[in-house]
């Protein structure tokens, strides 16, 4: 398992691993991936094409361009941003 991939996963999961944890995790993660990889035998069975190329890991999506549009509230609209109390957790609340 590449360090860059592990770093990326840890970043996404908001987890930091120590050096000991990294070594342990990399060793065991290879086994886990081989294990879950078995679902590909099902995909090949479904598509009937065992040689279907594996999908490529995409590390970022291409951002779409923002579209700005000005919105005018109808005249006389009242804005009330207070959040209503939906659940009273105890008798002295809500």
């Amino acid at each position: 398992m590449q360090d860059a991939l592990l770093d990326q996963l840890c970043g996404l999961a908001r987890i930091e691993l120590t050096a000991d944890e990294r070594g342990d995790f990399k060793a065991k993660f290879e086994g886990l991936l081989a294990f879950v990889e078995q679902v590909q035998t099902y995909a090949a069975r479904e598509t009937g094409d065992p040689s279907a190329p594996p999908l490529v890991f995409v590390d970022q999506l291409v951002p779409r361009k923002d579209v700005a549009e000005r919105f005018e509230w109808p005249a006389g609209t009242r804005h009330d941003y207070r959040v209503p109390q939906v659940i009273a957790f105890s008798e002295d609340e809500g």
């Binding site: 908001r14 987890i15 944890e21 886990l32 294990f35 078995q38 679902v39 995909a43």
Partner: protein, 532 residues
């Protein structure tokens, strides 16, 4: 009073309803005994105070008769234990993790609420694998649980403490959760009954979520009629769980007592789960004997061809890891638990992985570091709060949901789950129940598999398909097998029925219990303690 603790729940209910036993005194005796034996088992994370067992923790309805005497017989006015993953108002609920240390839920889980309304008393919160991830009871931040039959063996998991508590007569009923076999497998290892109701027949409100599409509230008892009693109490609609759609007007206890016409019962057998290359010989011998008892009684055996079940384990681990990485993203140390209720510095050096060899430094080794900003606070709390197995599953889930890999893993696993469900439901056109071993092995010694997560995952090979197709399953004691060390350990028979056929499953289970000579008797050291 102490000798009553060896009785089944429905026998205790008879005694309470006849007025021969005071339910509050029964609870106090049960709590006292639970304290006495828990030093050897570590089945509980918290037990009610013996000096105040019927006090602060309990519902105001404790010991009060249920108002409607014409309602179906229910689990009422009896003590019970709950896995520490069920929210209990004002009582610390940790999910076996440092992450939730100090967390006091502001509400009760639906099951806990209903049992409280039925006058039942809570004995304590039981130990578990952290966030219900594990198959041995060795992933808890609060220490390993021990198997009451042999204290140096695992009790199974993830509902390890609930299983050990019922087997050791610390409780007549314990609540657990079953996401892939977390009630049935430990029931098999501890020689008791573990029942996983149909997904949606019991509310999941108030369960700390692991994998929302597979999690289910489930029960441990010492007989299947007691599971039926519990179902009558907790299988009710809940407006706050949209997946909870229990059938109306089912009296599970009455149904479970109806006779089975064995000559009309068709029992499905899956050859892959009866293969001596995959299932240990002592387990296979016991399960084959149990099936023979049913055929001797007249049942018809039908071999089922379900090849996709071989892929159910990887599909299960993809789906549940994906859901776990999403569900556990909420633990950020801002609103509850570690980082809010308890400072990170307090847990340094502790943790679920701090016991077995090379894992000593896994999970807790970062040392407290002051958080400079919000992101570093999140990272610090999550890195210290989660144990090694939870981190592994979060990272696996993050991986299988990553852009590009989502289709390869997660979508394939979901499609596979759909086809497994279709295949199993088609099989139920030809059989009434399916019989398999509950676990491919006997219980194993503590520490034997902690270094090999894949071997640990195989413990669920016969049970996960039930969670994938959303049906119901029960593990029943069917004998004892001897392992390679010469230790005699319990074996479980696993029966499975289609979704919402729980009453049929409990009925077949109860009738099987009347066929077999395997009646629950506690380990000798427990019985001696009871007499002391």
């Amino acid at each position: 009073m102490r000798e009553l603790l060896a009785r089944s729940a429905h026998e205790l209910l008879d005694a309470v309803e006849s007025g021969a036993v005071d339910p509050v005194e029964l609870l106090e005796t049960q709590v006292e005994f639970a304290h006495e034996v828990d030093g050897a088992l570590n089945a509980f994370i918290k037990i009610a105070d013996p000096a105040n067992a019927s006090g602060d923790w309990q519902s105001p309805a404790l010991g009060i008769p249920v108002a409607d005497p014409t309602a179906p017989r229910q689990y009422t006015r009896l003590p019970y234990a709950a896995k520490d993953i069920f929210a209990t108002r004002g009582i610390e609920t940790t999910a076996g993790s440092q992450m939730l240390r100090g967390y006091l839920p502001p509400y009760d889980a639906h099951c806990v609420e209903l049992l409280g309304q039925a006058g039942c008393g809570l004995i304590g919160k039981t130990n578990l694998d952290e966030f219900a991830m594990g198959s041995s009871g060795e992933n808890s931040a609060y220490g390993d649980t021990h198997n009451p039959w042999h204290l140096d063996y695992v009790p199974g998991g993830s509902s390890s403490g609930s299983a050990a508590a019922v087997a050791a007569l610390q409780a007549p009923l314990a609540l657990g959760t079953d996401t892939g076999g977390s009630v049935r497998q430990p029931a098999s290892f501890c020689g008791i009954v573990g029942y996983r109701p149909t997904y949606g027949s019991v509310s999941r409100r108030g369960l700390v979520a692991f994998s929302s599409s597979a999690d289910q509230c489930a029960f441990f008892t010492r007989g299947s009629l007691d599971c039926a009693l519990a179902m009558n109490t907790v299988s009710h609609p809940d407006a706050l769980d949209s997946t909870c759609v229990p059938p109306a007007d089912v009296d599970y206890f009455a149904e479970a007592q109806r006779e089975v016409h064995w000559d009309k019962l068709r029992v499905g057998v899956i050859p892959a789960f009866m293969d001596s290359n995959k299932i240990d010989a002592p387990v296979l011998d016991c399960v084959k004997s149990a099936i023979k008892q049913m055929t001797d009684a007249g049942a018809q055996i039908v071999e089922l061809d379900l090849p996709l079940l071989e892929l159910s384990l990887p599909a299960y681990y993809i789906i549940t890891a994906a859901e776990c990485s999403s569900n556990l993203a909420r633990y950020d140390g801002i609103r509850y638990g570690l980082g809010k209720d308890v400072p990170i510095e307090e847990i340094e050096g502790a943790g679920p992985s701090a016991r077995h060899g090379a894992d000593d430094k896994i999970g807790r080794g970062l040392g407290p570091a002051p958080s400079k900003d919000l992101l570093s606070h999140y990272i610090s709390v999550r890195s210290h709060g989660f144990g090694a197995e939870v981190k592994r599953r979060i990272l696996l889930g993050t991986y299988v949901l990553s852009a590009g890999y989502g289709e390869k893993y997660y979508d394939n696993a979901r499609a596979l789950r759909r086809d497994i469900r279709d295949g199993v439901m088609a099989a139920f056109q030809h059989v009434d129940v399916i019989a398999t071993p509950t676990s491919p092995t006997l219980a194993f010694p503590l520490g034997a598999r902690t270094q090999d997560p894949l071997k640990m995952y195989l413990a669920d090979m016969c049970t996960v398909f039930v969670n994938l197709f959303g049906g119901c399953g029960i593990s029943l004691p069917c004998g004892f097998g001897v392992d390679t060390r010469g230790t005699s350990l319990p074996v479980g028979l696993h029966l499975v029925a289609p979704p919402f056929h729980d009453s049929l499953l409990l009925r077949v289970a109860a009738q099987y219990e009347s066929l077999t000579e395997w009646k629950y008797e506690a380990p000798a050291w427990i019985t001696e303690k009871l007499k002391a």
